[in-house]
């Protein structure tokens, strides 16, 4: 072989670089739309990958559009992935996001497309009451976003960033049927008041102190505060006084006698926590319950799927809503469903029409039912009269705890009364220090929370 001249070598190298670049561009971009096109979808829930892939297979049969589903877990990895992808203009076409929170942050940052002109009233009518507008920027949300340190700066009233995929609520108590029976309790008659619930805990714990306790993933300290204390307090005080606990008025905040009363009720759980529950994450606690290491677990409607994934038969579990205390203003306590995850479309995608078709397909009644059965997650789509057929008995039981927020049910999605700078993690850690750690009392904790809330308003 003869030697190349320097000029020839440079030319060759330049051609190679251009060819590589073009090749890279050709590989990385597929802007074709309609049948034969491919959508990328990212989710943060590993358990949703298989049900979504199943849905994608039937979607392809119907439309010819391929959907590739990828999970990025845990949550921080998912957020980092979106951050870096947004910077390099490489976000997936469709995202499953936390509804009524993450979608607004991403929408306000220009990463998600505004779907307000696409999601028609007819489409919205498919969803469970109270969840259809989870992705809608209401006026109060917009006003909060204008405050310094608000996470969702940039949103505008009327924008719509996600349609509900899964719905549910927090404050569901799960109990192990066989442990209840062994302690002489009737699983068919779950407690209807807080004191009955405490009595159940006492009886089962006395029978089996090591594995008869209550677990909750308190390593994520917000769980105790958000999933147990808040619904309990809402029931006890009613909506108006409950919301006042988070207000800038010290006389009515957590430092008030009302706050102290609610904390004293929660403190009744202290003797019955299963050993070491404060060291368990949410998944660890669900696993511990599924393995029989605890008799009770407080979670959300989504927790049932975790039990099944950990090898427990959902039929071995009795589920009931957190009971209200005697004399509660809003008792018996009902829990309003909220959209837990939503489907959003990237503002960067060139295949918005295909993405909308995919969203439309996933939120249809038949497909939502199939997704729910496969994932054991309740769908955001209202399945109407077909609910029990499509959901099966276990999920149908969970739906029984739902109530209408307008009729006085506790609505965890309503956070409009929080200070934009309020951090529930700090409140949760303070609660853990009271129960189970016994480092503070309801009286001292109420003062601490009162100061924390007051500071968040400054």
């Amino acid at each position: 072989m003869g030697k190349c001249q320097p000029g020839t070598r440079i030319l060759g190298a330049a051609v190679a670089v251009v060819a590589l670049f073009l090749g890279g561009v050709a590989c990385g971009s597929d802007s074709s739309s309609g049948a034969g096109s491919t959508l990328e979808m990212w989710t943060f829930k590993q358990a949703h990958v298989k049900p979504l892939q199943d849905a994608a297979a039937s979607f392809k049969e119907k439309t010819g559009i391929t959907v590739n589903v990828t999970a990025y877990t845990p949550d921080d990895a998912f957020k980092s992935k979106i951050q870096s992808a947004a910077a390099s203009k490489n976000v997936a076409d469709v995202l499953e996001v936390h509804a009524a929170g993450e979608d607004f942050v991403l929408g306000g940052s220009g990463i998600l497309a505004d779907l307000s002109s696409v999601v028609t009233p007819e489409w919205k009518s498919r969803f469970l009451k109270g969840t259809a507008d989870a992705g809608l920027v209401a006026e109060d949300r917009y006003q909060r976003s204008l405050k310094p340190k608000a996470p969702d700066a940039g949103i505008k009233t009327g924008q719509y960033f996600s349609v509900p995929l899964t719905a549910g609520t927090f404050g569901i108590v799960y109990a192990n049927k066989s442990k209840l029976v062994a302690a002489g309790l009737d699983p068919a008659k779950p407690p209807t008041t807080w004191s009955e619930f405490i009595n159940w805990l006492k009886i089962v714990n006395a029978k089996d102190p090591q594995t008869g306790g209550l677990t909750l993933g308190l390593k994520a300290p917000t769980t105790g505060f958000n999933w147990a204390l808040q619904p309990l307090t809402f029931g006890l005080l009613g909506k108006e006084k409950y919301q006042a606990l988070f207000s800038n008025d010290p006389a009515r905040s957590w430092a008030s006698p009302d706050g102290q009363r609610a904390l004293a009720l929660y403190d009744q759980l202290t003797p019955y926590w299963s050993p070491g529950t404060q060291t368990l994450g949410i998944d660890d606690a669900d696993r511990a319950f599924a393995q029989g290491k605890a008799a009770f677990d407080i979670g959300g409607t989504f927790t049932l799927a975790a039990f099944q994934q950990n090898g427990m038969n959902p039929g071995d579990v009795v589920a009931f809503g957190l009971p209200a205390a005697e004399g509660s203003v809003a008792g018996p306590l009902k829990l309003a469903p909220l959209a837990l995850t939503g489907l959003a479309v990237s503002a960067q995608t060139k295949k918005q029409d295909d993405a909308i078709k995919w969203l439309d397909y996933l939120t249809s009644v038949e497909q939502a039912g199939a997704f729910a059965q496969a994932s054991l997650d309740l769908p955001g789509t209202d399945l109407g009269a077909d609910a029990s057929r499509l959901l099966g008995p276990d999920l149908t039981t969970l739906q029984n705890v739902f109530g209408d927020a307008a009729a006085g049910a506790y609505d965890p999605a309503d956070v409009t009364f929080f200070s934009p700078a309020y951090e529930d993690k700090l409140a949760g850690e303070a609660l853990v220090r009271m129960s189970p750690l016994k480092e503070s009392t309801p009286a001292s904790l109420s003062q601490e929370l009162g100061t924390m809330i007051a500071t968040s308003w400054k």
């Binding site: 951050q83 306000g108 940052s109 996470p151 300290p221 050993p275 070491g276 060291t279 189970p436 480092e439």
Partner: protein, 306 residues
Amino acid sequence: MEVSHKRRRKLREALTGYAFVLPALVLFAVLGVYTVGYGLALSFARWNGFSANWIWVGLGNYRDLLYRDETLSPIVRDAAVNTAVVMIAVPLLAVVAGLPVALALNRITALRTTLRTVYFLPYVTTGIAVFYAWTYVLQPEGSLNAILKGLGLGTLAQPQGFLGNPATALPTLIAVLAWSSIPVAILLYLTGLQSIDPAVLDAARVDGATGLRTISAVIWPLLRPITAAVVLLNLRDALQGFQMFLVMTNGGPGGHTNVLGLQAYNLAFFSELRPTLGLASALGWLLFVVALILAAVNVRVLKSRT
């Protein structure tokens, strides 16, 4: 003509040299200077990682961390205290445990290689998986409690697990951190011991020095630079490392094991998408300054003692 030819050749050689260095320089410029500059700029801004614009706050993030934010600054202070405890305890344990083991390993002949491998295992196996394994060992029904009960030491067992009791959580994490850092101390001390001139030790022996006296008056002073290196390495790990705290306790129970590195991580990624990336960056820079001071102190110690 000859001079000009030489000059051209020198120039070509120089250019060739620069061409070889250029990729590394570009890489450093992109991955080093750019990211460091970006991080420094971020520490003066408010941003959530998603929005298009940063809001410049000057020294506001530093002020919030140190004293201005009534919610955040006490948490940072508590985390700083925990970090300081870890920074004192872990290097101390590494030296106190590492030196005797290294002395023993240096002296024995039988099974020396096997024992060195055994003592070095914690270092090569340490990581996320091992930290998870430790959490199982330390749970209420974990093997540590079982062993203590089996040995008749049930009073030492922790019903809430060693990580669930606020009084034992931080000391337990320190013990695990020391467990993973002692092997490097042993290795460094072994290297130091083998570089000591045997004639010096012979002279001490001839002068009638006992084994303990030889260690305290001859070996320990000669190993002072190694001790400084062991201390510095462990100080750095204690100051900046947070993986173990994240995996094993996530700062709990009730915030009792929060450290500065973990606090920075939580501000960056677990603040519910609030615009706290700048705070995380500012905390990172504060840690950098502390590390710089420690390094300077270390250099001074080395200079004055060797």
